[in-house]
């Protein structure tokens, strides 16, 4: 497909400048909140590895606290990759097994399907990260990228919950580019992205299309403002484009946390849009 290469080319960033801006973002958030650093859940995947790499550059590795939060069915290879990243970045890390907490709940919820179980694990991890952030006087570093936010491919109040997210305006293609620029281990950069919700799961297998394709379509829809029909005209599979459009619409609620019913005329975030800073 001829158009494809040029679309991804347009997402290519000036990597040193992007890293300078994003490390400035992390430093500013930590300084203005008066906290001592960040905590980040390390899955062994590229997003959390890249977020941790930015944070260690921004704050120094000792201010970045990694947490490996495996469940008993999680892939041992993921955990090994997460350890390798933490060692590579010279940041402190701990391993906390979430199996006892998750299993205690599902002992009486025996009908739960893999989706519910995966969501519960994501929220268990979130709960631990916020608790550890409290203990360490730190902020929770978000690791959701623009592609998965737009596709709603996350657990609401789970992996999409954070205090600050340096990755949220980067498509997956850009995360790959910047991760290579920062010299993250090639094994971590090039492996198939996976939420590790069940053995052998991959994001692209579950979504039904590749991240490269999703990036191209989303960039043209969301950033450039093309209509779905105009995107299809570029030569993309109409069913895939329609599925991406549907996902983007269906899961918008995940990107607008705290939808508050306005009664008073001075509702938080509506009448009173007070900046966070």
């Amino acid at each position: 497909m001829k158009a494809a290469a040029s679309v991804l080319d347009r997402l290519t960033l000036n990597a040193p400048l992007a890293v300078q801006v994003l490390t400035g973002f992390i430093r500013d958030a930590v300084e203005t909140s008066g906290t001592a650093g960040v905590v980040v859940g390390l899955s062994g995947g590229i997003d959390s590895s890249f977020a941790a790499a930015l944070a260690t550059r921004a704050l120094g590795p000792e201010q970045v606290h990694g947490f490996l939060l495996p469940y008993r069915t999680s892939s041992p290879e993921s955990e090994a990759d997460a350890r390798q990243v933490a060692l590579h970045l010279r940041m402190p890390f701990r391993v906390i097994d979430i199996s006892p907490m998750v299993d205690a709940y599902f002992a009486t919820e025996t009908d739960a399907d893999p989706g519910r179980r995966g969501n519960k694990m994501a929220r268990e991890r979130m709960s631990i990260l916020f608790d550890q952030a409290k203990r360490l006087n730190a902020l929770v570093l978000g690791t959701s990228n623009k592609t998965e936010i737009l596709l709603g491919y996350s657990t609401v109040f789970g992996d999409n919950a954070s205090s600050l997210n340096p990755l949220g305006d980067l498509y997956k293609h850009q995360i790959w580019q910047l991760s290579r620029h920062l010299g993250l281990p090639e094994k971590v950069v090039s492996k198939a992205p996976s939420a590790d919700l069940w053995p052998g799961q991959t994001d692209e297998g579950e979504l039904g299309f590749s991240y490269a394709l999703a990036d191209e379509v989303l960039y043209q829809l969301f950033d450039l403002g093309l209509t779905p029909a105009e995107v299809v005209e570029q030569g993309y599979d109409e069913r895939v484009v329609q599925r991406i459009v549907r996902l983007e619409q269906q899961f918008r609620f995940k990107r607008r946390l705290m939808l508050i019913a306005r009664l008073s005329g001075s509702a938080i975030n509506l009448d009173q849009e007070i900046p966070r800073d």
Partner: protein, 280 residues
Amino acid sequence: MAEPRPTLTLGLAQLDSRLGDVEANLQRHLDWIASARVRGVDLLVFPELSLTGYRLLHLTSRVAMPPDSAILERLAEAARPMSVLAGFVETSVRGVLYNSAILLSGDAPAHIHRKVYLPTYGIFQEERFLRPGKRLGLANLPWGQAGVLICEDLWHPELARRLAVAGARLLIVPSAGPGRIGAGDDPASHESWEILTRSTSLLDTCWVAYCNRVGWEEGSFYAGGSHIVRPGGEVLARAPFLDEHLLVEEIDLREADRLRWRLPLLADERSDIEGPEEAE
């Protein structure tokens, strides 16, 4: 009136403001004034809304002040004999709020420009909280006449043109321009700004001093890259991107006159051309 001294040492204070904290920002201004004094600065320019921060939303009314407020008097007093331009939320006698820049110069009456074009699109929400200014004026500085335009005002080139036609040799443009980056060497946002400032200095045959801020507000950064453009479009000096910086250069306002003799665009300017009708 004494013949104006045409050369001045111009300082651009590319600083980070603290959102909603006027007292802390005033202190920063005083620190920068002290640094500028050491460098021999005659005219020190701060960015848009430098005393209040930019993305105020519902904090706007809480940081508003009248032009004769104690904060601005302390600023003028500390700067003397230096001239200083700072940005603030102005509240009028009637209680109307403006995005204003005040130019304080010796014992002359303060020159205030109220931002004319309030961007209200994309991430910008100015018209929800502020009202647009309705007039342009010239500041009579010891070195000649200058005009002030705030950020978005420069994107409507008829304003700079009117100031130049009226006699401005120097356009001062305080800004809080959100940064964007792409594949280029410079932030993409800066590339747009330099096209504007350089075209303005060429077409309006005047100096342009663009002072942008740095720092983060609500997940959006300001790119810095403040710069001074000679009449004709050459960038004389540019501050770095992203970091605070005091840019100091000596400039000669007679350069504008010399260019105007060679390139008489303003002398040739016509206001009697008719048609076509504006489309709806």
